[in-house]
Amino acid sequence: MRNRYIADWLVLAFFAAIVALVFQQIATSMQDQGIASGGPYDNSAAYPRWVAILIAAFIPVVLLTQRWEQRGGEAINEPLTLSNLARPLRIFGIFLGFLILLPVLGYYIAAPLMLLGVMYAAGLRGFLALVLPALAVPFLFAFVFEAFLHIVLPGGWLGLHIGW
């Protein structure tokens, strides 16, 4: 159960990093552009600074209260052990790979591969159950978006496009 609080600490660390980033950007980029001071016409920094200060002020409040906080139904019921994390991480790893490879391989190659990979990682077996959706779904989507809605999906280095 204690593992769950890792998420609490990670979110607080994220907020602290965001606050730090705001002040860093004000001191560097905005200072250089000359928009870190002056009246409301020229001062782009005042408003984000105030929002960041408010966030910073709430961090200790969360620290003090989250121990007693009642858990709602939002969070996961499974403990965050390494074996439980493995599958979601694999699935999102494949999705991440898809996003990286999409501009390179193009939609028509990357999408079926992604579907195949995620379905396999999710535990699905059997040729028909895997290959049929992996081929049918991307082409159905491509048809709706390209032929009907005239969207151009990424063609990749091979420049694969279908003139529907």
Partner: protein, 329 residues
């Protein structure tokens, strides 16, 4: 291994329908990158794209990528391959004004033009029933005596309307408070509720509700623009020389592609767009949207845009002048 895979895939692609590179240009959807949020101007682009798509025989879609006065859309074009499938609806703000203001390292001559598209003349107007001043000169006289008290909007800051109005104010020696707005409609709302003293109003907004505005000055030399604003006085009727002529004081746009686009593709697009802009139905539809369709073909690009660049450069200090004067108050 990869060769085999690629060959197999090419074979599969050929079965499904020939891929783009095997056919004559254009073989698939052509995209027009539009630099503002959806609205009336995007409709003009849609109208042209729709008609041009009939001539090219492939669909054309308009993608709105607003940001940094059109800079994001311009950068988007530059990030695309120069294959003629991406067109940029190049308004004066990203194409000429941003480099003039020192916000971009490109020049208008870095692009290959297809055809001119539209011009959108605008005016300086009061709300109806505001009779504090009978004409523009009277308002300027009042403004000189009350520095910093007039409030106006030119839409977003550092845009062409802002620059042109700042130039006029500078010539009159009037210091006024510019209030930036993301959308023109918001600015007109605050004009009619009395928060702003005057605002820039474009033809479309004026023609929709001429009874809402008291137009003092049309920022254009064109007679058609004067007519569009119900015959209100234009800049040629003022006593002072504003050094604003031709297209410089107005918003306008050309469709351009990357300069390294192959000549054959370029020729196909130019021919289609030229025919589209000559189509009376298209011109009629554009006019109804409150902007003026332009007739200049690609070979006039240098002659038209070049002087505008020079004029805007000389106008650039009007914005700096306004800021200095406001700070000094």
């Amino acid at each position: 291994m990869f060769r085999k895979l690629a060959l197999a895939l090419m074979g599969a692609a050929a079965l499904m329908g020939a891929p783009a590179w095997a056919q004559e240009f254009p073989a698939r959807t052509v995209e027009v990158i539009f630099p503002w949020t959806p609205g009336t101007s995007m409709s003009v682009t849609q109208v042209i794209a729709d008609s041009m798509s009939d001539k090219l025989g492939v669909p054309m879609t308009v993608i709105s990528t607003p940001g940094a006065a059109g800079t994001k859309a311009l950068e988007t074009l530059q990030s695309r391959p120069a294959d003629g499938y991406s067109i940029f609806d190049a308004y004066v703000a990203p194409l000429v004004l941003q480099p003039v203001l020192g916000n971009g390292g490109w020049s208008y001559s870095d692009f290959a033009p297809l055809h001119s598209n539209l011009s959108a003349p605008f005016s300086i107007a009061l709300r109806k029933g505001d009779d504090r001043w009978a004409n523009f000169d009277e308002m300027m006289a009042w403004g000189r005596e009350h520095p910093g008290e007039l409030r106006y909007s030119a839409g977003a800051r550092n845009t062409l309307p802002h620059m042109a109005i700042a130039k006029v104010l500078q010539e009159y020696g009037v210091v006024a408070r510019n209030i930036p707005y993301a959308g023109d409609a918001e600015a007109r709302r605050d004009l009619s509720s009395g928060i702003l003293d005057f605002a820039f109003v474009n033809v479309g907004a004026y023609q929709r509700a001429p009874e809402d505005f008291n137009v003092l000055l049309v920022l254009s030399e064109l007679d058609t623009a004067k007519e569009a604003f119900g015959g209100a006085p234009n800049i040629t009727e003022l006593d002072i020389n504003l050094e604003l002529s031709g297209l410089a004081p107005m918003g306008w746009s050309w469709w351009v592609v990357r300069k390294d686009t192959p000549p054959e593709e370029l020729a196909v697009l130019r021919e289609a767009m030229s025919a589209t802009m000559k189509d009376p139905e298209v011109r009629e539809a554009i006019s109804r949207l409150g902007v003026v369709p332009l007739e200049w073909d690609y070979d006039e690009y240098e002659a038209i845009v070049g002087p505008v660049f020079e004029q805007l450069k000389s106008m650039g200090d009007a914005l700096a002048w306004e800021e200095e004067q406001m700070d000094a108050l």
